[in-house]
Symmetry: C2
């Protein structure tokens, strides 16, 4: 992992004191969930991950308690989906002020419960505390066959790049919400469900996989760095972006690819498939009623580029990723910065 991503530098500071567990199969950053070998006699790895909702709540991005609960579960299960794991369940650590409205907390736990039901899984346990502000952290645990566990590493030049479903809803939801515009329509569409069932197919065919929890461009930047290859995204926005996203971008005069650039994602899976696996993969997906979206390809080289009919346009994804650290708390400044990047790159 190169040293120019501010978020990674922060993580490195926090984790530098920790010893690597010998039974942990992935290095840091190399998989969405930790893969734990808990015994030679088992044919499976334990997949485990923890994710808190902090900025999403403190910025007001999520204010509907049901959505907060739903997302707390889904952000964690999405990490399991990306390694191909089947969930055993979720643990929930919640802290809230004694003054917190009871109806709010009831809706929040309803969101958690419904998210688990949607994925045929369960809340296994938790911890409840009294704190000055609302704080929520989850931990999802599951199992994945050792022979099919999938990480962020393994993409090769000529691999095809796929997305499990249309992108951009996460960014556009955040854009409308934080810029104070009407987002009711987006609220209707923005209810991500972790791609557990798709992950179970993906794990049999893909060379690498990662979710789009921080938006597709963040995902591509991370995969590019870890795999030391160039990731090329087709400018085929009508295929890649959710119809509602296209509509908002047209109405707001925004370059459509910007909907893939903000740090709030839609929890699709982004993965690479070798040319020899592609046909069988698409057959299996179709048999399960699923239409993965071809969004680009892997090539030798480095960086993330957008492919137009005429040329490959390199994107400064380092700059885009660091925006969330440098301008993250100012939504309008964030969008203006993104528009500057679009102008400079010549893709507006």
């Amino acid at each position: 992992m190169k040293k120019d991503i501010l978020e990674n530098l922060k993580i490195e500071k926090i984790t530098k004191n920790y010893l690597k567990a010998p039974h942990k199969k992935n290095e840091i950053h190399e998989a969405d969930a930790e893969l734990i070998d808990f015994g030679k006699e088992s044919e499976k790895y334990l997949a485990i991950t923890t994710d808190a909702l902090v900025e999403e709540v403190s910025t007001g991005l999520y204010d509907d308690p049901y959505l907060i609960g739903w997302m707390l579960a889904m952000v964690n299960f999405s990490d399991l989906a990306a390694v191909g794991a089947e969930p055993l369940g979720l643990l929930v650590s919640i802290s809230f002020p004694s003054t917190q409205d009871e109806a709010f907390m009831a809706r929040l736990t309803e969101g958690i419960s419904d998210a688990c039901k949607r994925l045929n899984t369960f809340v296994l346990g938790g911890d409840t505390n009294q704190g000055k502000e609302l704080f929520l952290s989850g931990c999802a645990v599951g199992l994945v066959p050792k022979k099919s566990a999938i990480t962020r590493i393994g993409a090769k030049p000529k691999d095809k790049l796929y997305l499990s479903g249309p992108g951009g809803l996460g960014s556009i939801f955040a854009f409308l919400r934080l810029s104070g515009q009407d987002y009711k329509m987006l609220e209707f569409f923005y209810k991500p469900a972790a791609r557990i069932a798709e992950g179970i197919i993906v794990r049999e065919f893909a060379s690498c996989c990662m979710d789009t929890s921080d938006g597709l461009l963040h995902t591509l930047d991370t995969l590019m760095r870890l795999n030391h290859n160039k990731f090329i995204l087709n400018n085929d926005w009508e295929r890649i972006l959710h119809p509602v996203v296209q509509q908002v971008c047209r109405a707001q005069n925004l370059p459509p690819w910007l909907a893939l650039a903000a740090v709030h994602g839609e929890f699709e899976l982004c993965f690479t498939i070798s040319p020899q696996n592609e046909k069988k993969f698409l057959q299996r997906a179709a048999l399960n009623g699923w239409m993965p979206i071809l969004i680009g390809e892997v090539a030798s080289g480095e960086g993330v580029s957008i492919k137009t009919q005429e040329q490959l346009i390199p994107l400064n994804t380092t700059l885009i990723r660091n925006l969330s650290e440098t301008a993250g708390s100012d939504p309008q400044g964030y969008i203006t910065e993104l528009l500057h990047i679009a102008l400079e790159a010549g893709i507006w």
Copy 2:
């Protein structure tokens, strides 16, 4: 679980929306960690638990960052110890303000790391966020043989009541710390290490087990309710209490059993052993260089009592447990209330 414990009513409100997982072996409150049956082919349960440090940090009870980190790991591993599990590792979810001192965070992660090393286990992963205040939540995961997993349920009349080590350090540490007295000596002694090795012995012999994370009286009250039996504590304070605790109680003119009543514990294991298992258990413990402390016994009936030479004195443990909810944020009021209970019960 009776309805008169305020903390349990709060937990019930939070959890009432959740479906019981069919592969979870324990009901809510019935075990320190969740026991998950992850497949018929496995001879082990997954043991998993989550615990956050909130009040301990916000009240200033822990202000040394190393202790905060150490305790974050230990409170979670202690729950694994109480079900007899061997840890696979810890996940850590941390949120802190961007203004947080880097040296503070480095000491905190050193504490986490050292606690894991002490137990020969590892930090497996985590999540780092930026929030308004420091927030820490952990999740410990481990394995326990299905045939020896131990819960809070199973105590029978005539069972002997044991503690893995001397009690009272947690309460006295909190008492000195929060009443603004010199606690440096206690800081030296108060560094609980989860009783993983002892739990592995206990699981082969005990009828029930729970840690003393909230102090011994809280543990006895919980076990009494779940097992529908009377739990009798001998007034053998010289054997039961840590020497430093006895010394502080003498110096401060406090009834010694009060050191078992406050809601901050020392993370020992409290467990019951049937008369027929007792000899073999003590032999095995001695072979491992461990001296468990006999602290009382189980009898038919209900409630928690203190046994003096003359009589059994019933303790109102409901009142004692609810103190942390009703007077928890006022240390002096809390202690005064406890002293009133001691006076009324006639054990001062």
